[in-house]
């Protein structure tokens, strides 16, 4: 390295140093430490005791671990495609030249500024079995009362439905993507006699496919870590039906203070999320169209 290069390097590192220290403190060290912790047993401030593969062996036999893994998979499979579809659907409509477009866009975005605690409390009330406004509305269509949050069968579907309320950001991101699609493509499709649905599948979807991938990957990463809403609304119940991975990890770490055990869980989550991201990127290669 020449002298000027060394000078440039020093200056660059100086400018990025706030982040670099943060990276070491809050990313690099914790990742390494949590690998080590996952092979130990300790309660917060004690010295970790090496226990080898014990935590992983115990986890494999821990029913709650498998329940939480299953519930999180359920939540991901239910909410990510539903939210993507809903977001793309409303974004496509919002992209048409309809009156009041800005006001309508605002309506879809506004739930995202609501603090999660407030929205969780609000939705407990809305989902109330008797007299809750959702069941009352369904009642108009002669649908009998659904025990949303009090039934093990309905609690997870309720949380998945609720996730649609938070699609404001993906809607805006899709809208930006849709506005980038060249109008000549639509004109060409029109001249070739394509109907609205054909145009959607053969023009819109391929053109925004990178955005679908982007929102999808972010959606999976977010859904895999879901915690606050089920923690407040159902506390993992009823009968562990909404005991997601985040809640189980939180219980082990901050209720039982089993830090080593929780670290093993955290590492498994890391590998799962990493795996899902890689798989999504691989699968997308076949479908995603880059200009």
């Amino acid at each position: 390295m020449s002298k000027t290069q060394r000078g440039e390097m020093l200056l660059g590192v100086l400018f990025i140093s706030p982040w670099l220290i943060g990276f070491i403190w809050f990313n690099l060290y914790p990742i390494v430490a949590s690998i080590y912790y996952s092979f130990t047993s300790f309660h917060v401030i004690e010295t970790p005791q090496w226990v080898g593969l014990n935590n992983f062996v115990t986890l494999a036999q821990d029913d709650l671990f498998w329940t939480s893994l299953f519930n999180t998979a359920y939540y991901i499979v239910g909410s990510v495609p539903l939210d993507l579809l809903a977001a793309l659907f409303f974004a496509v409509l919002l992209n048409l030249r309809v009156p009041l477009r800005d006001l309508l866009r605002t309506c879809y975005y506004i739930p995202t500024v609501v603090p999660t605690v407030a929205s969780a409390i609000l939705w407990i009330m809305l989902f109330n079995t008797h007299g809750g406004i959702i069941n009352e509305t369904l009642g108009v269509f002669r649908i009998p009362e659904i025990p949303w949050l009090s039934s093990p069968n309905w609690a997870m579907p309720a949380l998945i439905l609720l996730s649609v309320w938070g699609i404001g950001s993906p809607v805006i991101i899709f809208l930006a993507g849709l506005q980038d699609v060249s109008t000549t493509l639509y004109e060409a499709a029109h001249l070739d006699g394509a109907g609205p649905l054909q145009t959607f599948w053969h023009v819109t979807v391929p053109m925004v496919s990178p955005v679908i991938l982007f929102n999808g990957v972010l959606g999976i990463i977010g859904a895999a870590q879901v915690f606050v809403v089920p923690y407040i609304m159902t506390a993992g119940g009823p009968l562990n039906a909404t005991l997601v991975y985040g809640i189980e990890l939180f219980q082990n770490a901050f209720v039982y203070y089993k830090m080593g055990y929780a670290s093993a869980m955290a590492w498994i989550l890391f590998l799962v999320v990493f795996g899902l991201t890689v798989v999504s990127l691989q699968v997308s290669r076949r479908y995603v169209h880059y200009e």
Binding site: E8, L11, G12, L14, F15, I16, S17, P18, W19, I21, G22, F23, W25, F26, N27, P30, V44, I45, F90, L94, V98, L100, L104, C107, Y109, I110, P111, V113, V114, P115, V117, A118, I121, L122, M125, L126, H130, G131, E136, S169, P170, I172, I173, A176, P196, F214, L218, I221, Q225, F227, I232, A253, F254, M259, A266, L269, F270, V273, F274, T277
Partner: protein, 296 residues
């Protein structure tokens, strides 16, 4: 050109087809509008229901059929909720945490963003890729060692774990600002450099003033994130006197699960500053989201 030699009848058919297509397009747009309005009502309705419930008598909350607008407006739910939910104290705590956090985030993200966009140095792009990769790390993975570290430093039970990390750059905001800095004209920087200005000078006197819109996005988003944060206070704060609005609201809810009118009044107090802020800064918001495409 071919149309000129076609029989008049065909032209009429063409025109009729066009008219049909136009009617279909208008019909489609009307249908789209109807669906959009229905969806928008469904999205906004829960918040209106929150407002309506906050003004009801407790007996009116779960009636069949539902009461849309309370018979008498029970504004007293608000002062009543304050007896369980000390809003001024929680507001003060929230601001004590959020204000320095916002300043820390802006400063510690803007400097690295300059280093990643306007300086050339060996290894820069590799390091930047590492920065982007950190966005994909689940919070849970790094949480426990960070918590243990703070516990050993005796920082748990104080505001410090909620404030200090914000002074060490946020990958998301660094990315956002870097994209913006890259768009500023190189000529201005070159000119300032030739005039003998240091990089710190260029950063402070040229790049920052030109980047006000992007800085506004960072201030706004980080303020809202701090205001809404529930998880940080949940694991780090144990003393009620230090509670922020989010964790305070949760604590109120867990002690008075069925006092819906007071709960909705308190929720609305926590939420309304965010709504007001959103309406005041809507443009900045949308720009911020579309600019990075990163907000989930």
């Amino acid at each position: 050109m071919a149309e000129l030699v076609q029989a008049p009848g065909i032209v009429v058919v063409r025109q009729r087809q066009k008219a049909v297509a136009r009617t279909a397009a208008i019909g489609g747009r009307v249908l789209a509008l109807v669906v959009l309005v229905a969806g928008a009502v469904a999205f906004v309705f829960p918040l209106l229901w929150m407002l309506s419930t906050s003004l009801k008598d407790l007996s009116e909350v779960f009636t069949v059929p539902p009461i849309w607008i309370p018979h008498a407006l029970h504004f007293d739910n608000y002062p009543r909720s304050l007896t369980y939910f000390p809003f001024p104290l929680y507001l003060r705590n929230t601001l004590i945490v959020v204000m320095p956090s916002v300043i820390g985030t802006v400063v510690s993200s803007a400097l690295p963003a300059y280093g990643f966009s306007r300086l050339r140095w060996p290894g820069r792009d590799v390091v930047f890729t590492v920065l982007l990769a950190t966005l994909l790390i689940p919070t849970w993975t790094t949480l426990i060692p960070v918590y243990v570290l703070f516990a050993r430093m005796h920082w748990t039970g104080t505001f410090l774990p909620l404030i200090v990390p914000n002074f060490f750059g946020s990958a998301f905001y660094i990315f956002l600002l870097r994209q913006f800095f890259l768009r500023q004209p190189q000529e201005l920087i070159d000119a300032a450099r030739i005039d003998g200005s240091s990089h710190l000078g260029v950063f402070a006197r040229i790049i920052l003033p030109l980047s006000k819109p992007a800085l506004a996005v960072v201030v706004l988003f980080s303020f809202m994130d701090g205001w809404k944060d529930f998880f940080g206070p949940l694991i780090y704060l144990d003393n009620q006197d230090l509670y922020t609005l989010s964790i305070g609201l949760y604590s109120f809810q867990s002690q008075h699960t069925t006092d819906w009118t007071a709960l909705m009044a308190a929720s609305l107090m926590v939420l309304s500053p965010m709504i007001v802020l959103f309406f005041l800064t809507q443009r900045t918001f949308v720009e911020g989201i579309t600019f990075t495409g990163l907000r989930g």
